[in-house]
Symmetry: C2
Subunit: 416 residues, 2 copies
């Protein structure tokens, strides 16, 4: 507890939201108080917590407020943590805090992916900081290390398993042969699935995160609506099994590459990941992110991508950084972007996994695709093609359909 | 190239050593000059390179010197990179640079492990920075992320594959069934083995690195001479095969834990790592480091632990950080330590893998060890014991020998 009457340098902070992550942030700030003090040389004092609910049993129940104006108008509050989630009113609150010269820390990937560039511009103008380490990879340090990697590297590619819920579901399908629906239900029962599973299973959450990493890597905001996104709802157990027979596992991957001509190839989609890739071994609710630099080569970061304390500890690390840099901006920035440097997703090149049925499907596929790697079983044919653009792949599929071959599923093969 | 006559803010740096890493640092500073400038807002200008050899073909041949005094006496040089390796004269040079108020960046793990605390004390007094990201894990960002993890976490344990040479050798033994001597020769032929392979294969290099990570994690210098170290020269192909049969791979692990009573349990030794551990999948010359925090859970960092450009890019990231913080110290510090908080390595607890021969070895071992997991083959018996201190393990081995059982090898099992 904060000791009144004792002279100790301190920084006052406010926390907006007292849900899972917010209560974790308050908990760490209270339980790790001495550790934080010895690191920072100043005490981090939670002056206000904003939440519409009541928390009478909190040890700091007297510091709760339902009124944002109490935070914005308090000149002592230098750092504001936004862990409310969603866009409104988080967007308005963050903007007002930054304009008032307060530093803001958020774990809200939806907000960063939608408004990061705008926040950075305000933070730059007001000479304050906007930080979001917890928005990608939960407790895995990724934003700061990537920013560090970036200094002496041209980042060629970033690819990651960025959503724990879908990775948990796919792991159950792979390891236990559990059908998608059962695995989703299990994830919900265990509390891994978020309130609205659509954001996870349809790939939107992973898309927001790869947008954040891509914006950071290449310096211009890439908005989620510019990124082709496919979820995992169409993945069948049969695909999982054929993938294994070919030496791959299926993972939901957010991936961005810089092409030789400087344009950006970005995508969120399930991919076949080869057994020998570091990303293939990332199972259950864990996340893993690979950063491919021209100097460092591949660097992979692995850990729990969500959860109360992992995420909260990343938020607290940002709070400490903000407290250290109240008068100096940290270099963390991207400019706004118009999406014009992003290639059409149909021009993105990859080898494909295809599951098909129909008479002589393998021979017909070979005639259309050229060199393929085929496995047959149970009246269906599974195959791996060589690399081609998605546009060409679609044309070839059309040609196959005209010959009576039904394409049951098609999944990209990731060279990661 | 540096453009004369143009007013552009710049920081002058010197590089001591123009070997593999040093030439990589110069290369990155020259080839990534614009990128670094846009990040830092100042140009990093290599003013001097110290090396006793001549490099007439270098694009900056005119800036080489053989005289350290030219660096120490140049007030414009604010940051000095030490990439000479070895203790002398690196130690004396680094000390003099810090005392002169210059920031120092090093990749020299031997130097950091031997003199880190002394350098930190001087840096603190002179309000300058001493940084060493490249000393552990080459191009993998680990020092800064760990320092960040540490802020909001009590680190319970750090365990890592910290030496690429031995990991390459063990991988050849595991994947190709190649005997140790052949694998060592291959590593040397491929340039993975350092000048003196003893430092690698006897575990000293890995020991220095876990000492650096342990000192950082727990705030007091842990010197290599306080750490029990075993290399991989005693690992036989038979052990590799038995380990696999039990579901493990053998890896050289540097590991430090904080016990519940606050004491430190630190060790460098080959260990059986279970297949499902993230560290088991780190093969060839790659490194991987697991940091176990009370809030984040397990976080793993993976990448190339050595090599010219990976290591040099980590050095350059430190140089940039020093340039940004010429007047402000970064929080990176540990105090001196007397080793009194380190437990005797024989009191460290682990389960053991044992390979033994002799009549009825399995029954005798069961009578002595209690519950064991046994596999027999080719006149030898391999077994996994339950957990015990190494002291107790040695006593039990003595009792077994008295019964005519020969202990052919004994390797710890890592719970990592």
């Amino acid at each position: 507890m904060y000791q009144k009457g004792k002279v100790r340098k301190m920084v006052s902070v406010a926390i907006m939201g007292h849900g899972v992550v917010g209560s974790g942030v308050a908990e760490i700030l209270l339980t790790h108080k001495q550790k934080l003090f010895s690191h920072l040389g100043e005490e981090i004092y939670i002056k206000k917590i904003l939440d519409l609910r009541e928390f009478p049993d909190s040890p700091i129940a007297d510091r709760f407020t339902k009124d944002f104006e109490e935070i914005i108008n308090d000149l002592e509050i230098r750092v504001v943590v936004e862990v409310m989630g969603g866009i409104h009113p988080a967007y308005e609150f963050v903007k007002r805090c930054l304009k008032a010269g307060k530093s803001v820390v958020t774990s809200n990937k939806e907000l960063v992916a939608a408004h990061g560039a705008e926040f950075f511009a305000i933070a730059k103008e007001e000479n304050t900081n906007f930080m979001f380490e917890a928005s990608v990879g939960g407790g895995i340090p990724i934003i700061r290390p990537m920013n560090q990697c970036l200094v002496a590297n041209n980042v060629r590619e970033v690819a990651g398993i960025l959503n724990g819920t879908t990775n948990f579901i796919l792991t159950r399908m792979i390891e236990d042969g559990m059908p998608f629906d059962d695995a989703l239900k299990l994830a919900q029962d265990l509390g891994f699935a978020e309130r609205n599973p659509a954001a996870d299973i349809e790939g939107h959450d992973a898309c927001r995160k790869i947008c954040i990493l891509a914006s950071l890597a290449y310096g211009r905001h890439i908005y989620p609506q510019s990124v082709h996104t496919e979820g995992i709802t169409g993945i069948a157990l049969e695909d999982v099994k054929f993938a294994e027979a070919f030496g791959y596992v299926i993972k939901l991957i957010g991936r961005v590459k810089k092409l030789d001509d400087g344009r950006i190839d970005i995508l969120t989609a399930p991919m076949l990941v080869p057994f020998n890739s570091q990303l293939s071994n990332i199972t259950n609710e864990f996340n893993g992110i690979m950063v491919r630099g021209d100097c460092t080569g591949d660097v992979v970061f692995y850990g729990k991508g969500a959860g109360k304390l992992p995420t909260a500890s990343a938020v607290v690390a940002d709070v400490v950084d903000c407290c250290k840099h109240l008068k100096a901006r940290r270099f963390l920035f991207w400019a706004d972007g118009d999406g014009k440097n992003i290639i059409d997703w149909r021009d993105s090149v990859s080898a494909m996994y295809v599951r098909a049925s129909g008479e002589n499907a393998a021979q017909k596929a070979e005639a259309v695709f050229g060199d393929i790697n085929v496995t047959e079983g149970d009246g269906v044919t599974a195959m791996l093609t060589t690399e081609m653009t998605y546009r060409v792949f679609e044309e070839k599929c059309k040609a196959l359909k005209a010959q009576g071959v039904e394409i049951l599923s098609a999944i990209r093969i990731g060279d990661i």
